[in-house]
């Protein structure tokens, strides 16, 4: 046999999130990769499937007082407080570099009201170089007593509709895991026209310093991320993938190619790498290479072949 025949070819890593085509399924999670420039010396940005930028609001936000982060067992708590430069400075200061990254740029948006989300979607639709919006619905609805949009199906649906109405960009809605039944939320958002879902956002947690009897975070509670949350995220992705037909981006504790593959098998079309960017800036590229290696080992020519490929039963 000709030796050249046995040299494995590069598997096809391309995936599509509805109308959003990606060169590979590996993206960065919002809030863990800044505006990409922060990692430009450490990661070949043009290798990434996409970058999801730090969440943007209409006006700049100062964020919470310190301490804002606390390390936990195989994870971390954060209460950054959605600090960001605001949409105007994002467009003027951050977009010029983002346009040069050579990968898909997804802008995460957040607001206090449905009108905020709609206005952001409108602003950003007119900006060149943005490939999609990701809607963070884990924020409190100020007009509804601070209940998070992402915890009430009718509010999540209303935000989704409002954003869709203002933009022709693909709309990804990022689900909160801090709900009784994430499938109910996923269905409400999917039926309201979302092009894709990303899940999960952080799990609300808390840390206490027994010695001082004080909370570890100035905000008292914060979002838990990192490897510790992976089993919860994987379960939720699997449940949602079984219930909705729009594509899913799996997020939660992904640090290795094996982690990412587990999410793809559970039904995710793509993944976002979050906290791993902090402890291993090379994680995203290693995961892309590792997925390709896995596909070769498994004799698959395309990553599409393993999406939802979880084997159940005997």
């Amino acid at each position: 046999m000709d030796n050249a025949m046995t040299i494995p070819s590069q598997p096809d890593l391309r995936v599509a999130l509805g109308p959003l085509a990606l060169a590979n399924p590996v993206m960065t999670a919002s809030g863990t990769f800044g505006y990409a420039a922060e990692f430009a010396n450490l990661v070949r940005l043009n290798r990434l499937g996409g970058v999801v930028v730090k969440g943007i609001s209409l006006e700049p936000r100062a964020g919470n007082p310190p301490p804002r982060i606390f390390e936990t067992a195989a994870g971390m708590l954060n209460a950054i407080g959605l600090e960001n430069v605001g949409v105007k400075r994002f467009i003027s200061d951050k977009m010029p570099h983002l346009r040069t990254c050579g990968c898909r740029i997804v802008v995460n948006i957040l607001g206090d009201s449905i009108d905020d989300y709609a206005a952001l979607a409108g602003h950003l639709s007119a900006v060149a170089g943005i490939d999609a919006l990701e809607v963070n619905i884990s924020c409190p609805n100020v007009k509804k007593g601070g209940v998070a949009f992402g915890t009430a199906p009718e509010m999540a649906a209303a935000v989704t509709r409002a954003v869709k109405q203002e933009t022709d960009l693909p709309v990804i809605v990022k689900l909160s895991p801090n709900v009784t039944d994430i499938v109910v939320m996923a269905r409400a958002v999917a039926e309201s026209g979302a092009d894709a879902l990303s899940l999960i956002n952080t799990l609300i947690g808390m840390g206490i310093d027994a010695r001082t009897r004080r909370p570890r975070l100035a905000n008292v509670i914060g979002g838990l991320s990192g490897p510790a949350i992976k089993p919860v995220a994987l379960r939720m992705v699997w449940q949602v993938a079984s219930a909705v037909s729009i594509p899913i981006i799996g997020i939660g504790g992904i640090g290795t190619a094996e982690d990412a593959i587990e999410f793809l098998l559970a039904g995710a079309t793509a993944v976002q790498v979050g906290t791993a960017n902090f402890y291993n800036p090379g994680a995203t590229e290693q995961i892309i290479d590792g997925i390709a290696d896995y596909l070769r080992q498994q004799g698959e020519s395309s990553v599409q072949a393993i999406i939802g490929g979880l084997r159940l039963g005997a």
Binding site: G31, T32, F33, G34, E38, F39, N41, L42, K54, A62, G63, N64, P65, P66, P67, R68, I69, F70, E71, A73, A74, G75, M76, N78, I80, E83, G226, P227, G255, T275, N277, F278, Y279, P281, G282
Partner: protein, 261 residues
């Protein structure tokens, strides 16, 4: 100023005091570019717990690619770092942050406890570039002589004038190092300080009233060291948060709010 993720090789580890260790690493990429006051994010092990790197200031660099870090054991991550052995690798990210801005003239370096570590690199740079001379004052303090002596070694051979103070009086003056500053202030053009927050606040206040420039090196919990996690916020004088990793760790004292913490 590019950052590098570098697998360094541990050349040696020395115990300087019961809880302080000095690591000598071969890390040519980072050592070749580091400036005084910058830091590295150091992976504490290869497992997922503890998860995050630890920010450690750069103690000394040499032209042959050697990099020294001084680590004080304060928790599990630094405990693991103290247990590393020669020949093992240590994953570093660096050099990170904005270091000291060196300027010529009569200066004082003030260090407290483990905060003394980055000042040796600063003193070397100041003396070797001729920006400071034998009038360079180095005021160092710690809890006890056992803690202070190993950290204070090295400054005198550079030609600096060293004064010491300890909380328990076992070495140098019995009391706070900040008590020694007012006598020098009229003759100083600039003060560099790294140490516990109350000490830096006291030095900043003394310098402000004497109208002497002061740079402080802050410490904060941080996840990435790259300006992405935004975990290391410290309140600025303008009412906005600064990020210790990127805007600092070295700040002009007047940039920071000293009363709210």
């Amino acid at each position: 100023m590019p950052e590098h993720q570098e697998k360094s090789i541990v050349l040696s580890i020395e115990r300087l005091s019961p809880s302080v260790y000095r690591l000598t690493l071969h890390a040519p990429l980072i050592a070749g570019e580091a400036r005084p006051g910058q830091f590295a994010m150091v992976a504490c092990g290869s497992t997922l717990d503890p998860l995050l790197r630890r920010p450690i200031s750069i103690h000394q660099c040499s032209g042959d690619g050697r990099l020294q870090l001084v680590v004080k054991v304060v928790g599990r991550g630094t405990q693991l770092l103290s247990e590393i052995r020669a020949g093992q690798t240590l994953d570093l990210l660096g050099p990170l942050g904005r270091g000291f801005r060196l300027s010529p003239g009569p200066v004082a370096l003030i260090g407290g406890g483990i905060g003394i570590a980055p000042l040796l690199f600063l003193a070397q740079s100041l003396m070797q570039t001729g920006q400071a001379d034998a009038s360079c004052r180095v005021l160092l303090g710690a809890q006890s002589g056992e803690d202070l002596a190993p950290l204070a070694a090295g400054f005198e051979t550079l030609g600096c004038h060293v004064e010491l103070a300890t909380d328990d009086g076992s070495l140098g003056r019995h009391g706070l190092i900040t008590d020694l500053l007012p006598a020098h202030l009229p003759n100083l053009g600039k003060v560099y300080v790294c140490g516990p927050h109350p000490m830096m606040a006291a030095v900043a206040a003394l310098c402000a009233s004497a109208q002497v420039d002061c740079e402080v090196s802050l410490e904060a919990h941080m996840a990435c060291g790259l300006g992405a996690c935004l975990g290391c916020a410290a309140p600025g004088a303008d009412g906005r948060y600064k990020h210790v990793c990127k805007h600092g760790p070295v700040f002009k004292a007047e940039e920071m709010a000293w009363t709210t913490r």
